[in-house]
Amino acid sequence: MKPEELLYAKTHEWVAIEETDGGKTATIGISAYAVESLTDLVFIELPKQGRTVAALESFCEVESVKAVSDIYSPVAGEVTEVNTPLADALEWLSDDPYGAGWIAKVKITDDAPLAGLLDYDAYQKMCAEEA
C-alpha cells in the first residue's frame, strides 16, 4: 500500500479503507515513523480475531527493549482478520510497515470515527512538529 493513500490516527496507526459487500473494512498497521520511534521491537500481542473494538481503544500491544506501547484501533467494529505470522516476523514492521507489517482488519460498524483521521500530508506535518 502507498503511504500517501492511507489515513492516519494521531496515535500513529495507519488505516486503509476498502468497500466490502455493502460495508467497509479497515486494514490497520503502524506508521514507519512510529516503528522508528519505538526501535528494537521484541514482541507483539496481536488482537484476537472476532473481538469488537471501540474507536481509540487499545487492541494490540508492542514491546520494545525499553517499554511496552499500546496500539489503538482507529475505527470501531469487529476484528475479522489478524496478521498472525507477524508475531514471529517483527522485522516486517520496520521493513514493510504498509504491507507485510499490517496488523489486523476491522469490519467497520460506525463511520463517525473516520472523520477524526488525518490524511498523509496532515500526518506528515504532525510528525514533523513532534520530532
Binding site: 520511534s37 519505538l38 526501535t39 528494537d40 521484541v42 514482541f43 500481542e45 500491544e61 514491546e63 520494545s64 527493549v65 525499553k66 517499554a67 511496552v68 506501547s69
Partner: protein, 376 residues
C-alpha cells in the same frame, strides 16, 4: 513513546550539544537532558559487548572529600571502611540512613595524591541522589574536620566500556593505564586531556571511566569516537547493567530497602579491622537486620516466552503475590526476557518456579543466579 527533553530547566552535560547533533534522543533523566539512545538500543548494546561503547555519564555526581578527617568522615557515612584504602583504590559502597535504608550506592576512591591535610577521596554518586546527599553529608560533616566540594558541573565523565576499551584508551594515554587493576585509578592525559582514570564501569565489561574538565569533554569524546568508540545512550547502559546483574538506585535500591536484602553484603563492613562492631550511620540497624534475617531477597528471573516483564509487575506463587519485579527487559545478549525482582526468602532459591503477571497473563519464570551475563 518517551517524551523529548525540551524544558529549559534541565541541566545539560558538556556533551549535550554533541548528542543532539548526532541523533541522540534527549530525555529528562534526573533533571538532566540525557541521550537515551542514538539509534538502535540493541546495536549500542552489542557494540559495548563486542567492541567499545562510549557513555556520557557526566550527570553522575562527583564529590571531592578533603580535610584531616576525610577518611573518618567517610567511614561514618559509608557502609564500607575506606580509611585503609591505598592511594588509587576504589570501593563500591552504600550510604544508609540510621534505619539501614539505602540513600544511595556510590563509588568511593582514595585519590592518588594526598591533599595538604592528608588523604583525599572522591565519591561518585547517582544523579538522582546528588542534592539529597549534599544535604545529608553537610549535616553529618558538622563534627568532622572535612570539606566537601561538589565538582559535578565543572567536570565531565565518560565511560569507555567493552572488550577493546582498555587497549583503545591505553593507546591514547600518556600513562600505562592498562596496568591499572580493576577498581583502581590514576591521573593521566588521554588524547592530551587531563583525566582521572578509573578502571570501573556499569556494563559488565572491562573498561574505564574518565573524568575531565568540562571544557575539554568534547575534545576527549571526539578522540574516543575517532579511535572507534560507539556512542551509546542510557537505554543501552540499562540493558547492559541488567544483564550484568547490577542494581540501579530507584529500582533495586531505595530507602525502604537495606543492603542485605539487596544482596550487597560484600559492601557492608559491620566490623572494624579488629573484628569489633563498627560505628557508622545505619550500622546498628544493619546488625539487627543481619541477625533477624532478610524479609526479601533480590533475585534474577528467566522468563518463558518473548515478552519482557517490567518494573512493578507482580511475582506469584500458586496465584499469590510473593514478590515484585524491579527491572526487566529483553536481553540482547541472551535473546530472551530477563528481570530482577525481590521475592520472599523461601522463593529465592535458584531453580524455584514462579510466575510473573505480565499485563494479566501469568507467565512462567525461574529463579536464576545473577549475573545473567559474565564476560569471558
Amino acid at each position: 513513546m518517551a517524551s523529548t527533553a525540551q524544558s529549559v530547566d534541565l541541566l545539560r552535560t558538556p556533551l549535550a550539544d554533541w548528542h543532539a547533533a548526532h541523533g541522540g534522543r534527549l530525555v529528562d533523566f534526573a533533571g538532566w537532558a540525557m541521550p537515551v539512545q542514538y539509534g538502535s538500543i540493541v546495536e549500542e548494546h552489542v557494540a559495548t559487548r563486542t567492541g567499545v561503547g562510549l557513555f556520557d555519564v557526566s550527570h553522575m555526581g562527583r564529590l571531592a572529600v578533603r580535610g584531616s578527617q576525610a577518611g573518618p568522615f567517610l567511614d561514618h557515612v559509608l557502609t564500607r571502611r575506606v580509611t585503609a584504602l591505598k592511594p588509587g583504590q576504589i570501593r563500591y559502597s552504600l550510604v544508609c540512613n540510621s534505619a539501614g535504608g539505602m540513600l544511595d550506592d556510590v563509588l568511593a576512591g582514595r585519590v592518588g595524591v594526598d591533599s595538604a591535610e592528608g588523604p583525599a577521596f572522591a565519591l561518585v554518586v547517582n544523579a538522582s541522589n546528588r542534592e539529597k546527599l549534599n544535604t545529608w553529608f553537610a549535616e553529618e560533616a558538622q563534627h568532622f574536620q572535612v570539606s566537601l566540594d561538589d565538582q559535578t558541573l565543572a567536570t565531565a565523565m565518560i565511560a569507555v566500556q567493552g572488550p577493546r576499551a582498555v587497549a583503545m584508551v591505553a593507546q591514547l594515554a600518556d600513562t600505562d593505564v592498562a596496568a591499572l587493576r580493576y577498581y583502581s585509578g590514576c591521573e593521566a592525559r588521554v588524547a592530551g586531556v587531563p583525566c582521572a582514570v578509573s578502571r570501573t564501569g556499569y556494563t559488565g565489561e572491562d573498561g574505564f571511566e574518565l573524568t575531565c574538565p568540562a571544557q575539554e569533554a568534547t575534545a576527549l569524546w571526539q578522540a574516543l569516537c575517532a579511535a572507534g568508540g560507539v556512542a551509546c545512550g542510557l537505554a543501552a547502559r540499562d540493558t547492559l547493567r541488567l544483564e550484568a546483574g547490577m542494581p540501579l538506585y530507584g529500582h533495586e535500591l531505595s530507602e525502604q530497602l537495606n543492603p542485605l536484602d539487596a544482596g550487597l553484603r560484600f559492601a557492608v563492613d559491620l566490623c572494624d579491622s579488629g573484628g569489633q562492631p563498627r560505628s557508622f550511620v545505619g550500622g546498628d540497624a544493619l546488625r539487627s537486620a543481619d541477625s533477624s534475617g532478610p524479609q526479601r531477597l533480590r533475585v534474577g528471573l528467566a522468563i518463558e516466552g518473548k515478552r519482557p516483564p517490567r518494573e512493578q509487575y507482580r511475582v506469584l506463587t500458586a496465584g499469590r503475590a510473593c514478590g515484585v519485579v524491579t527491572s526487566g527487559t529483553h536481553s540482547p545478549t541472551l535473546g530472551k526476557p530477563i528481570a530482577m525482582a525481590y521475592v520472599e526468602p523461601p522463593y529465592a532459591t535458584e531453580g524455584t518456579s514462579l510466575t510473573v503477571d505480565i499485563r494479566g497473563t501469568e507467565t512462567p519464570a525461574t529463579v536464576v543466579p545473577l549475573p545473567f551475563y559474565r564476560r569471558s
